[in-house]
Symmetry: C2
Subunit: 444 residues, 2 copies
């Protein structure tokens, strides 16, 4: 695939000083990647994408990430933001990022078919990464992208869409049924007051896109709504403030199994895992599937509950600072933390979290039409089974337990939660507290 | 049904002073219920059981609870404990508590068939309680029952059984398959060191009961094993200490739908909900199903993870101090916290927790053979659906939200977790943090 560049360099990746960041080997560098139509891919992972940068193991990279739902309130989420506008630019004459999703370019609802929705910054190529290796991604920092519209200067906003792919959609009580509803939140990030406050909501759609296609449901990303025309309700969720949990909804590597892979179903290479624990201070390990690993990030969320029930979180643009460490497979000891990691393993300050999915290798397990069929075979029950097996394996291999030890410990000390029921390949995570181990702090 | 009493009074309920307990109305009393063969029922709820005491709304009751798995390590969990021994007493000549479970009295594996396993202290009759009312049960305190065997005097122990009804049982990797394994834990309750430490494990069974029936699997409660004959493994789970979460695995009311109801599947009247949040400081609300409410407690756990994966927690004998408040249905305001509570609503210091089940009213929903069929229709997916609907209703009624407000909030701030996958009627809970409401602290 070809990436189209404009002349200007200002929205391309550049190197910045390593100020304040650990550099034990002395050789680390730090790359800054602005979000622009030249640094993102929209709605899919692909092993065929040309990398936006190449880095070495140990390097740092700052990735600006954009919400793919800025059109829900363009005044607060889009206008005045040159990077975001370059990505969203779409007129009858010109659409800067034409492909949105892994579907056909001639899909009736738009190029790429919206089969995948997230704006992903990347991919970042890690030199020397080979299939079978492990990529450690440390989230060093995460900070919000302030509004660039002078009317709301420097404030931070996000949007939650109760979407047609939500768990509730065909199970509504109030009329009209079904319906899609947008709720706009303002995010306060002042220390000690880190809350999202509901501003207003409105019933979404229909929306006509610049090519004249009428979208009766939210079936294509980047559509621009006009909330004021939708009779917004402003007196909502009074006295509610949502504690924020900033995280990357989508973070992961390109898989080898197909050339164009929707960004929606999470996979063994990560992607749209939608676990709110994947935030600042966390480290996540992914199995490398293709040469160079091809890391992308996006779908930043200000807050989400376990289940992401209505189909989205508080979708909001944030920037992440990552350090990336490559572990060659041959250097991973047999009975060690990473020995059997063939799926996204999350490490936070206090926990290890394994991620189970309805179909852990859906691209191969579900056959030729896997990318379609995975949405018809969503199941918490299957994800629970997978999470059980992964946690058992993790305890046996990384923590050197017998199966009997692992199973007793899982029953009395591991918590299984429902990550999401909205991404086709549904998720159950299992959390193991580090404090359970008296030698916690010793290297694994 | 008839309760058989011996002559001695010492193990019967008695009144104790109300020392140190709030008594705003001036009329509250405090009853102490020792656990004995005269104060427990084993393996079932029943609307036909004669109450062990009658109390008024506002009264306090202390209920000694016994683990039903004391036979896994009788030296540590049973011997020297007069109350527990009176319950467990079973020789070829005499079995103090004959019925164990809701099954037939002539079942091949023992009277009651082990269709229900928990030793339940109660039932407590609440004067004036009528079907449709709500019973508020406050867990004021909870403390462990120390070992009465001089060899382990005053120490506290518990047992975890990886059981034939566990989620893992038919999905084991190591040989022999399948197998049942007991792990014995010692529980340290010194303040600041509240951990359970693994002592040893052994492969359970077969066990021959005093009537000569050979139990190849753990299919009847109260069987007495001899761990020393089972080649116990002592060097297990090194460096592991499990933070304790003392709670009542089973706490709830007798349902009206059947005369004898297995204690295993949780129900709309509570029972074996197996949520570790049902501990000291928590309050739980149940819909009253029969006259007098008929509250029973048992199945105390020192610790459990969300899912109770292997079929049991750290099963351990603890005593609970409860205050019980009756809310007549007519006194519950329309749009209030309790308005629509027709299932177990838990309130902890920080959260409200609703409990979803695969089959929320399984005794009526599943037909004539509901008590058998519920075990064949276990599903996390169904429990998730129920938890979603209950949390939506709770937000709409108790917190006066529109459906759209409720659904957005659920998606960004409510966490759905897997309560248990081992009790036939599987559970998903949804947790809502009180701190979300800026008027938190005001009465609802």
């Amino acid at each position: 695939m070809q990436r189209r560049y404009r002349d200007s360099n200002e929205m391309r990746p550049y190197e910045v000083p390593l100020t304040g960041l650990p550099n034990p080997s002395g050789g680390a560098r730090h790359w800054y990647v602005p979000a622009s139509d030249r640094t993102v891919h929209w709605g899919y992972f692909s092993k065929s994408l040309a990398p936006i940068i190449e880095i070495d193991s140990g390097d740092y990279v700052t990735l600006e990430c954009l919400t793919h739902q800025a059109g829900d309130d363009p005044a607060r989420l889009l206008r005045g933001d040159a990077g975001a506008e370059s990505v969203y630019h779409w007129t009858a004459q010109r659409k800067n990022v034409d492909r949105r999703g892994a579907g056909p370019m001639d899909a009736a609802n738009g190029a790429g078919g919206g089969q995948g929705v997230h704006i992903l910054t990347g991919p970042v190529c890690v030199r020397g990464a080979r299939p079978g290796d492990l990529l450690e991604v440390r989230i060093i920092d995460m900070y919000p992208r302030p509004c660039a519209n002078p009317a709301y200067a420097d404030r931070v906003f996000g949007t939650n869409l109760a979407a047609n792919w939500g768990y509730h959609y065909l199970d509504l009580m109030e009329e009209p049924r079904p319906r899609e509803v947008v709720t706009i939140y303002e995010i306060e990030t002042t220390s000690g007051r880190e809350f999202a406050r509901p501003l207003y909501n409105y019933r979404w759609g229909p929306v006509t896109d610049p090519n004249g296609v009428i979208h009766r449901v939210y079936d294509y990303p980047g559509l621009i709504a006009d909330p004021e025309m939708q009779r917004p309700q402003r007196d909502i969720l009074r006295n509610v403030r949502v504690p924020i949990r900033p995280h990357f909804g989508t973070l992961g590597l390109a898989p080898k199994e197909a050339d164009l892979v929707s960004s929606i179903p999470p996979n063994y290479t990560g992607g749209n895992v939608d676990d709110w624990r994947i935030g600042k201070g966390a480290t996540i390990y992914y199995p490398v599937s293709v040469e160079g690993a091809l890391l992308s990030a996006g779908d930043t969320h200000a807050a989400q509950g376990d289940s992401e029930l209505c189909g989205t979180a508080i979708e909001s643009s944030w920037t992440g600072l990552f350090q990336v460490i490559l572990h060659a497979r041959r250097d991973v000891p047999d009975r060690s933390l990473l020995a059997q990691v063939q799926w996204p393993l999350l490490e936070t300050r206090d926990e290890w979290v394994v991620h189970g999915f309805s179909h852990p290798h859906y691209l191969t397990d579900l056959g030729e039409h896997a990318q379609r069929d995975v949405f018809m075979k969503s199941s918490v029950d299957l994800a629970m089974r997978d999470a059980f097996r992964k946690m058992r394996g993790f305890l046996m291999h990384a923590h050197r337990m017998s199966e009997d030890e692992a199973i007793s410990l899982m029953s009395v000390a591991v918590d299984f939660g429902i990550t999401q029921v909205v991404d086709g390949n549904w998720g159950v995570h299992a959390s193991l507290k580090k404090s359970i181990f008296t030698d916690y702090g010793a290297s694994p």
